[in-house]
């Protein structure tokens, strides 16, 4: 069910930038406009839902990324000097001082160019500097070696595996789900921590 909430956490929901990208904070409509075409894209569906089963527009509205900019946030990833997003990174607050992240890079030309490392590092620094969040977590499928790499490269610890917990209805493959997490103090000791926060 879609919940309508009003207001905006302006400290979090703001445009950011990295060395190569503009990160444009999105509302729910802009996010839907960007991501709705992904509901028939097997690669994007697997990246976001670990299932390649196509979704109707209604199902996408209900289950797809939908920033409320209070507890759920989304940034379009736009290469500098262009106007076309190549993907979306979301952050969702949930649990005790905890946040989860999810990403989809729809432009295949950017795969393998460490987009996720650069963007996620910026967003984690941003969230730790501007929100009462002490932990980042994420889940990924065991077959997604690229996603596993991204978590490990950023210093996330693998903290658990749900073995044979999912089955992709399209190809029938059964797979594990992996849980990763990193705490604020661990992040701050790692190579991607920013020593200053220009947004504080």
């Amino acid at each position: 069910m879609v919940r309508l909430r009003f207001g905006k956490n302006r400290r979090i929901a703001r445009d950011l930038e990295t060395e190569r990208f503009e990160l444009k904070s999105l509302g729910p409509i802009a996010c839907l406009r960007l991501t709705a075409p992904w509901r028939n894209d097997p690669d994007m569906l697997r990246a976001l839902f670990q299932s390649a089963e196509p979704l109707s527009l209604l199902a996408w509205i209900q289950r797809g990324p939908s920033p409320d900019n209070l507890e759920r946030f989304g940034w379009a990833i736009i290469p500098k000097g262009t106007a076309t997003p190549i993907g979306l990174h979301t952050v969702r607050f949930g649990g005790y001082r905890s946040a989860n992240c999810m990403v989809g890079i729809s432009d295949r030309a950017w795969w393998g160019h460490d987009v996720v490392i650069e963007v996620r590092a910026r967003l984690i620094n941003h969230i730790f500097a501007n929100a009462e969040i002490d932990r980042f977590g994420g889940m990924t499928a065991s077959y997604n070696a690229a996603s596993i790499f991204n978590y490990r490269r950023l210093g996330f610890a693998h903290v658990g595996t749900e073995h044979r917990v999912r089955r992709d209805p399209v190809d029938g493959k059964v797979f594990d789900l992996l849980a990763f997490e990193i705490f604020r103090e661990q992040w701050q000791q790692g190579p991607f921590a920013e020593t200053t926060d220009e947004h504080a």
Partner: protein, 76 residues
């Protein structure tokens, strides 16, 4: 030849690195070790071992030493 040398050769092949790779190289020190490069490392390793990697084994791959440890399992 040691498994560390084997691991370095496997990583070099997967990541298309011509220069020599030191035994302490890792995902943090090799710029060519990107997310797509990591997929190639996993595939090369599975081919070398002749089997699919278990989930925990895939997660453990973050350095030459980790790849060497997995290669060593084949010779036990």
């Amino acid at each position: 030849m040691s498994t560390l040398e084997d691991a370095a050769r496997l990583i070099a092949r997967a990541l298309d690195i011509q220069a020599e790779i030191g035994p302490d190289a890792s995902i943090a020190t090799l710029p060519a070790w990107t997310s797509l490069g990591h997929v190639r490392v996993v595939l090369e390793l599975e081919e070398a071992l002749g089997r699919s990697l278990a989930t925990e084994e895939v997660v453990s791959i973050d350095s030459i030493a980790a790849v060497a440890a997995l290669l060593a399992t084949a010779s036990r």
